[in-house]
Symmetry: C2
């Protein structure tokens, strides 16, 4: 089951270790060579016990932040920075984030600005964290009601993904992570794309198939890692492909209120809208749109529009216009193509077309 991938993100090496069990403090220390007194653990309400297991008999300061999207704010960053200061961490100290995407993003951001950058290790304990936040170095938190409005690029040199922490995945946890895996599979243009899709179809029928799950996580990590290697800071157009479903999805999250639905639910719904847009633009073939929507539905995602929680389409359109992935003032969308996906500029997506897609007329497309 053990897998290991090493990526180079803009010259910074990042090793990802998929393991059955959680690492020990010694595993982490032996990689960094830090003294234990120079380590701060960060966890949330749900992962405190995992952090304790990593520590075992040993002792290290432990900073607990609230769990969930609501904790992705400056106050939590300050809590982590204060804990590091109280633990007398120098700039050669090590932050170990134990948790899902929120803990990864927050610990990564705090480490990146602590004395202008300290050491960072992530132990990713959620499906979403493994296939998204823990790989590629994006950190950040929400501000002014906007997702990840402030952040840095700061890849962790060492990332552990202990699949034992996924053993009894609650439904909500599944729905937060699977959408990112389906998204990555949609981007896959390798010879393995059909096999990846078949694995996902099998998984949708029996989510207890742990070997298949590990295989899907490993493929997602590899694919995401290679994309980020090619375009680490999203200055080109390559990394932007990973935002498939995110432009629509983030606007949905922002407009109905952050934390109302999981990131995965938002991305899944956004992918469905990307399929609609791609179809309207003549880029996404009808049969591919149906295949993607069917898989999303098989995992229980809402794909219909308007989304049941969306009360105000104008707020949605405003959130869309504020999207941080804009270039030269224009929105950019990623839409599935015959294989993989392509980037289209906002000009191609006329407001009239977008309004129809969001307003619920997608079936007329």
């Amino acid at each position: 089951m053990n897998r290991e991938y090493t990526f180079s993100f803009g010259g910074n090496l990042s090793s990802v270790r998929i393991r059955k069990h959680i690492p020990s403090l010694d595993d982490i220390i032996s990689f960094y060579g830090s003294a234990p007194g120079n380590v701060l653990f960060v966890c949330d309400t749900h992962t405190r016990s995992i952090a304790r297991q990593i520590l075992g008999e040993k002792d290290a300061p432990l900073c607990e932040i609230q769990s969930g999207e609501a904790a992705k704010n400056w106050a939590s960053v300050e809590t982590i920075l204060k804990a590091a200061k109280d633990a007398a961490l120098g700039r050669d100290g090590l932050f170990v984030g134990v948790g899902g995407g929120v803990v990864s993003d927050m610990t990564g951001f705090a480490a990146s600005i602590y004395m202008r950058g300290a050491g960072l290790c992530l132990v990713s304990t959620s499906l979403l964290g493994m296939v998204d936040a823990a790989v590629g170095g994006k950190t950040g938190f929400d501000l002014f009601g906007m997702k990840n409005f402030a952040g840095t690029f700061y890849p962790a040199p060492l990332v552990y993904m202990p699949v034992s922490s996924l053993t009894s995945l609650p439904e909500r946890e599944w729905k937060s992570g699977m959408a990112e895996i389906i998204k990555t599979a949609t981007l896959d243009t390798s010879d393995e794309q059909e096999r990846f899709w078949s694995l996902l179809a099998a998984l949708s029928r029996d989510t207890a198939e742990q070997d298949i799950l590990v295989e899907c996580i490993a493929r997602s990590v590899q694919l995401k890692g290679r994309v980020v290697e090619a375009d680490p800071k999203e200055t080109g157009n390559f990394r932007a492909l990973l935002n498939l479903g995110h432009t629509f999805g983030h606007a949905l999250e922002s407009s109905i209120g952050l934390g109302q639905i999981t990131h995965g639910e938002a991305v899944a719904w956004g992918m469905a809208r990307s399929c609609d847009l791609g179809l309207a633009l003549g880029i996404t073939p009808q049969d591919r749109r149906e295949k993607i929507l069917a898989l999303l539905s098989a995992f229980g995602y809402e794909t219909k529009t308007p989304h049941p929680l969306m009360r105000d389409t104008e707020a949605f359109m405003q959130a869309l216009r504020n999207d941080k992935k804009k270039k030269a003032g224009s929105l950019r969308f990623i839409v599935p193509a015959r294989t993989g996906a392509v980037l289209v500029s906002g000009e191609q997506a006329e407001p009239r077309v977008l309004a129809r897609i969001i307003g619920g007329y997608s079936d007329c497309l």
Copy 2:
């Protein structure tokens, strides 16, 4: 008078342009190729008029923060980020910071985390800003009463230094900047070190000598730039040399309350203590110590210990122990050698020796 230096800081190019006059918006835009609508100016109370001059007939959003060290906090960062959001800047937008060290540090930090990193140009209008904050990419703000506790490395690709903005340097402004120039001259080990020192000695007698001043600024910029090129993120021991006077100086600032004295006054006093420590350790020759102290005094800096504002030496020692330049839990000091300066570990500086240096027994050394 025009000078231009281009440095490569960890692969990021940074051009420094020393000019008689302030640049125009077109000068800046032509470098970046940004549309003016995509620019946010940041200034403080004192530099609003300079920002307006740069704009000329053109219009661009302008965000004013408070001036002085007291504004180096998260609230100011948030003010800048909010202004950028309200101006609808994308991540390809450009932040132009017009001001001294505080504006440079704050604008640089805000730009570095805005949507994970936007464009940055600095127009440095103070002596301290030119020779310190504007070159080398360190950004940051104060937190928990600690100087630059949070920050990033984010070099501005373009830095303007319009010396016309120094024309009527107020006394306090002088004292904030000259200490950094003297510090840099102390580090100089090139063939030009004697000449640099002579220029400074001449300047101390007639501060109206603008040609000499420009020459001193240019040498400081060059020397600092070369040091940062060799060790951009202070992972080695080379960039640490630029902290000469800063370990003692920052502890003084923190312990008497940030903003009580200028950064330059703190650094000058800290350099005097570094000379004391170097002498006690047998590293700084007596005649070099005297030469450095004499030049600091000629510019009106307080070099005696204990500093007149220091009420509580224990608070000072605590601030010293919290210094973020620690490595492996140990403090590090930079002390002048026969030429240049060297780094010594905290173990070499016994508490007993430090206490004597701070407590005012330095003359017995």
